[in-house]
């Protein structure tokens, strides 16, 4: 049930300096995802086995007119809170209620860092600018990698 979406955005092979780097240069392409009816244990297993701090919940919404792609996000802290206070519904659908802080691949990496500081988060979801679908994750460690570029 786990799936890692691949997408067309790739970082450059020659890492630019922090001043010129964009989110696309540092991000990890792909995002671990689960269906809305996955349980808390399934989501926990995905995070632990893939070593990721967030899992996307993806689904197709049907209405009279058409089908729509919808998604949400479960953070590691949302999982913890659900694990401590087990409610009647601890499905992925119920856990993915937090506001999503997302960036686009072309955003300057420094601006993405400022966004992390403003919201006090270590991870941002990278979305495709055209489809607004999640295509990757940017973490503070990715920014550290660019800052350390050239360091032994």
């Amino acid at each position: 049930m786990s799936q890692t979406a691949t997408q067309p955005v790739h970082g450059s092979y020659l890492m630019p300096s922090l001043r010129h780097a964009t989110v696309a240069d540092a991000m990890h392409p792909g995002i671990v995802a689960c269906p809305p009816d996955a349980g808390l244990t399934d989501v926990a297993r995905l995070m632990a086995s893939h070593h990721v701090h967030c899992v996307a919940v993806m689904a197709i919404s049907h209405d009279d007119e058409a089908e729509h792609f919808v998604w949400g996000l479960i953070s590691d802290l949302a999982l913890l809170r659900a694990g401590i206070h087990l409610g009647p519904d601890s499905s992925a659908r119920a856990l993915a209620l937090e506001p999503i802080i997302s960036v686009e691949p072309t955003m300057a990496l420094r601006h993405a860092g400022e966004l992390m500081l403003r919201h006090g988060v270590s991870h941002l979801v990278v979305v495709d600018p055209e489809t607004q679908r999640p295509t990757g994750v940017l973490s503070t460690l990715d920014i550290a990698g660019v800052l350390a570029w050239g360091e032994a």
Binding site: L18, R19, L40, T41, A44, R45, M47, A48, S49, H51, H53, D76, L77, L79, L80, R81, G83, I84, L109, R110, G113, E114, M116, L117, G120, S122, S139, T140, L141, D142, I143, A144, G145, V146, L147, A148, E151, A152
Partner: protein
């Protein structure tokens, strides 16, 4: 098994887990990552960033030259701050985040509550007797316990 690492020191890096549940029955020392990456006070923030990036750790302990006593902790958000401002600083100057700590004898449930209340993904684990840092507990360590339910 102490070993010198590129840009840092891994002290006793082993990872032990006791696969039982629920969270209240498990001690932090049984599910944490043992060992803490360290750097010196005068190491540059770029050096600390290299340690974090190479070893995928979110916190680096700053030790002084006098017996390697821990004096501060640089978090990943401290590195993000340095990246956002473009400031060139030392590890000690960058260590602005007050680290949240938990005793190695505390329950995993208590640690999870601390993380939830303070909105942090990592806790520094202190030896219950001596009080010095012996490891890091992350939300993913708790997730592994929940996955075993």
């Amino acid at each position: 098994m102490p070993r010198r690492a590129v840009g840092g020191e891994a002290v006793g890096m082993t990872n032990q887990r006791i696969r039982t549940s629920p969270l209240s029955d498990i001690r932090v020392k049984d599910c944490m990552h043992h060992g803490v990456m360290t750097c010196r006070e005068d190491d540059s923030i770029r050096h600390v960033a290299a340690v974090m990036s190479n070893y995928r750790v979110h916190a680096v302990l700053v030790t002084n030259g006098n017996g390697g006593r821990p004096v501060a902790i640089v978090s990943d958000l401290d590195v993000a701050t340095a990246a956002a401002t473009g400031a060139e600083c030392t590890a000690l100057e960058a260590a602005a985040t007050e680290p949240l700590t938990v005793s190695s004898d505390a329950s995993a449930e208590r640690a999870a509550q601390l993380m939830s209340e303070h909105g942090v993904s990592h806790l520094v684990v202190l030896d219950s007797a001596a009080g010095y840092p012996v490891g890091i507990l992350s939300t993913l360590d708790i997730a592994a316990l929940l996955a075993d339910d």
